[in-house]
């Protein structure tokens, strides 16, 4: 009988003999290897000796607590993720055409990009809107634009995600109003509003009001939707923009979950029952190039959220503990240099999201470091998802990377480091306090600065940027938004204001103001009423600005 050795003894032997011999002659490429987020990676991972009990507690089964392996019992064997390309530019008419094209190409859900004035509650004719109308998304001033945007798209058949935060209540109200005009009742509507104001203060910047009234609007939406629009995802708690701002993978999930904790605590604080709204909370993460770190990140995030909801908030319903999330491939990973290389990056990121168990996915287009994507580039991006879904084979079994020594070790490590951050923020008094202190912003900026320094110093290779560069011709065929669009939009707005019943508009805005001045009235019905009278987004936001005031950024450098 041969002598039995433990894995650790065997490892020591291997290091002494086999490994050492090679290392002496051929040193490794780097002294230290790190993940995309800069965390050390060991040379070799070995079985961790996890017990059956630990497996059940930490990893478990798909569709069961703690959801490490996924939120559905069959995952992609049952149904692929929703392929949802974020799109919108120019006028409602142009965007409507793009949505119809995407649906014809086999996209399964809509995702609306609004221009910045819309996101910050300014009409197209506001002086603040100069240069920005229709640039990064579609311009919506009134219900009229929203009617055009969804013309010929049956709202009981598609699910629609809207990237709208500070004025989320207004856009949701417009969506409900358009649906009702189509004869679709509220209870049939499926979709998501981003509605995540905390990450706007942290990273994305389209805030309007200070935290307290912003949190009130969010609670109003939670409550209204739980009764009236039960299939609607009332918030998409987003790590995407935190990561884009330069955070690490750990910070991305830690700060997102800390945001989630703040929303849940606030809603419970105004008397909502946790299980009445928690099942409609959804999440939104990034997918970067370090494939395995990303997969571990998603698994860790699900595990932590389940624990938070169960242990901290005593949720009883399974749905309340499940972290369902949308993913978008990482915009900041795209390079303006050799843009076709971005197709490959997006493919890796798509695999990360899918191997990590995402519920829906947006794949970026190769030309997005340069401009809004062209129709051809958008098609390649969508095809990338379809190829991974139908040809790669990774969808045939659930959570296929589970049990990889590295993946499980990484999942544990990310979960534990994220947990430390979450506890630290809780000790500071929660996320609003941590933001006010500038703590979260500073943590992200330090990571971003480190990353960029590494790129500049050549410690981190970005293909086509600091290595493997070529002389290039400027790219052709980039999508340009017509600068005369603002004039068109302003004229349309003037027509709407001329045709509507202005007495009714004034009355509805007055009622909204009165409601906003009280603390306990739900503003959703009042906003819905104003929207139906064709009060504009700028008018409604303006009234709320008068009552609530505006948030001032504290500059952290």
């Amino acid at each position: 009988m041969s002598e039995y050795k433990t894995i650790n003894e065997k490892k020591a032997d291997w290091e002494e003999s086999t490994l050492k011999k090679v290392l002496d002659r051929f040193p490794e490429q780097q002294e230290e290897f790190v993940t995309g987020s800069g965390h050390p990676v060991e040379r070799l991972y070995l079985p961790s000796g996890i017990s059956e009990e630990e497996y059940i507690e930490k990893i478990g089964f798909p569709g069961e607590y703690p959801y490490t392996r996924g939120v559905q019992p069959t995952m992609y064997r049952g149904r692929f993720w929703t392929m949802r390309q974020y799109a919108g530019f120019g006028t409602a008419e142009e965007s409507n055409q793009r949505y119809k094209y995407l649906l014809e190409q086999g996209q399964t859900g809509l995702s609306i990009a609004f221009d910045l004035p819309t996101q910050i509650g300014y009409d197209s004719d506001d002086s603040m809107s100069e240069g920005e109308v229709g640039k990064v998304g579609v311009a919506i001033d009134s219900l009229k634009d929203m009617e055009i945007l969804f013309e010929g798209i049956p709202l009981d058949k598609v699910s629609t995600s809207m990237t709208i935060n500070a004025p989320a209540a207004v856009l949701l109200a417009m969506y409900i109003a358009v649906a009702e005009k189509q004869g679709v009742t509220r209870d049939k509507l499926r979709g998501t509003i981003q509605n995540d104001i905390l990450k706007e203060y942290i990273a994305r910047g389209t805030y309007i009001f200070p935290p307290a009234p912003s949190m009130r609007l969010i609670n109003n939406i939670f409550e209204f939707c739980s009764k009236e629009v039960p299939k609607w995802n009332t918030i998409s708690i987003s790590g995407y923009h935190i990561r884009e701002a330069g955070s690490t993978a750990v910070q991305e999930i830690a700060f997102t979950i800390a945001d989630g904790i703040e929303y849940v605590r606030n809603a419970i604080g105004v008397g909502l029952d946790v299980d009445s709204f928690a099942g409609r909370l959804s999440f939104f993460f990034n997918a970067h190039n370090d494939l395995l770190e990303e997969v571990a990140k998603y698994r860790a995030a699900r595990r932590i959220w389940a624990r938070v909801m169960k242990e901290k908030f005593n949720a009883k319903k399974e749905k309340s503990m499940m972290m369902r999330f949308h993913t978008q491939t990482g915009g900041s990973t795209l390079t303006a240099q050799q843009p076709d290389n971005n197709i490959v990056r997006v493919t890796i990121q798509t695999l990360a999201a899918v191997l990590g168990g995402t519920q829906s996915l947006h794949t970026n287009s190769r030309d997005e470091a340069l401009a809004l994507p062209s129709q051809e580039s958008v098609m390649i991006a969508l095809r990338t998802q379809q190829i991974v879904a139908n040809e790669s084979g990774v969808t045939s079994t659930i959570d296929p990377l589970a049990g990889s020594y590295y993946i499980e070790a990484l999942t544990d490590r990310i979960a534990s480091e994220a947990w430390d951050y979450i506890e630290k923020i809780e000790t500071m008094g929660g996320m609003v306090k941590a933001i006010e202190k500038g703590y979260v912003q500073k943590e992200i900026q330090d990571s971003a600065y480190r990353y960029q320094r590494d790129v500049e110093d050549g410690n981190r290779i970005v293909v086509g940027v600091n290595k493997f560069t070529v002389e290039e011709e400027p790219p052709k065929g980039l999508l340009k938004v017509d600068p005369s669009l603002r004039t068109v939009q302003v004229e349309k707005l003037a027509r709407v204001k001329g045709e509507r019943d202005n007495v009714a508009v004034t009355a509805s805005l007055k009622a909204l103001k009165k409601g906003a001045e009280t603390e306990d009235e739900n503003l959703m019905p009042l906003i819905l009423d104003a929207v139906k009278k064709y009060a504009t987004l700028g008018e409604i936001s303006g009234i709320l600005r008068e009552v609530f005031g505006e948030f001032q950024e504290s500059i952290v450098l």
Partner: protein
């Protein structure tokens, strides 16, 4: 002792993508300049007021929403109107190559797009100071 070189890093327009602006601000500070960062959502008017109040030598504009052709030239124009055309304006962000000649013609002296090493910016500053 020579007066320290002062730079205002500013974000006109409505986009909140301040990662680049903050990186540049910090890196220029590390390179020994005095740097002021405005924060996001600044109008051209408020940028010009700050630039004059802070007595800066350079204004670096960062914009990622596509509104650069409207907003960058406006900053240069307003500086001229206020007799502050000695302040040198440069810019960066997501700027298509084909827009750069137009911006230069409008008085934005240099445009640094994504992936530009910080050294290129400091070289520009130093060279411009010699003039």
């Amino acid at each position: 002792m020579a007066k320290a070189v002062r730079i205002l890093v500013a974000k006109p327009g409505l986009d909140g993508h301040d990662r680049g602006a903050k990186y540049i601000a910090r890196a220029l500070k590390d390179a020994g300049y005095e740097v002021i960062y405005t924060g996001i959502r600044q109008t051209p008017e408020s940028i010009v007021v700050t630039a004059i109040q802070e007595d800066v030598d350079f204004v670096g504009l960062s914009l990622l929403s596509g509104a650069h052709n409207e907003l960058f030239p406006k900053v240069v124009e307003l500086l001229r109107e206020k007799d502050a055309s000695d302040i040198i304006v440069f810019g960066g962000g997501v700027i298509p190559t084909e827009d750069i000649p137009f911006l230069k013609e409008k008085g934005i002296e240099a445009v640094f797009t994504q992936g530009t090493p910080i050294k290129e910016i400091t070289d520009f500053i130093e060279k411009r100071l010699e003039k």
